[in-house]
Symmetry: C2
Subunit: 82 residues, 2 copies
């Protein structure tokens, strides 16, 4: 069966987010003074053939560790849906 | 009070995702033959000063429409947490 793993990749706290900073400045210049902070990460949808949900999750985790995530500076969450 | 709006931005179905295609090829070359498809989007965390959750959500939506999302080719979801 094919499962969709939704992966969120985001910078660890304390890691400077230059992209987020740029977006924040742009939004504030547009008048959004109520904006305190912006952090920008990635949202990756993986369609995986697997026996079951747990196998799909394990496989998605391997993909994160091997390629998608830089664990020195990033963290990730995985949610598996059908 | 300050709320966090978690925004997912992703390409509409049918829109070619060149970044996703490149990631898919890289993962398959690493041996992930069970991977069917990859789509890459953005995960944006907005810290917003607002009266309540609904006001924070409305404000996040304005930010999406005015800057963060290209509605011709992208869609978005907003989830507000404390």
């Amino acid at each position: 069966m094919t499962y969709t793993a939704e992966v969120l990749v985001y910078l660890k706290e304390g890691v400077l987010d230059t992209q987020g900073k740029a977006v924040k400045q742009s939004l504030q210049r547009l008048g959004f003074q109520d904006l305190e902070d912006v952090r920008v990460g990635k949202y990756i949808q993986l369609r995986i053939n697997a026996e079951n949900e747990e196998a799909a999750r394990a496989r998605a985790k391997e993909m994160c560790v091997e390629l998608l995530v830089n664990e020195l500076i990033e963290e990730f969450d995985i949610k598996v849906v059908d």
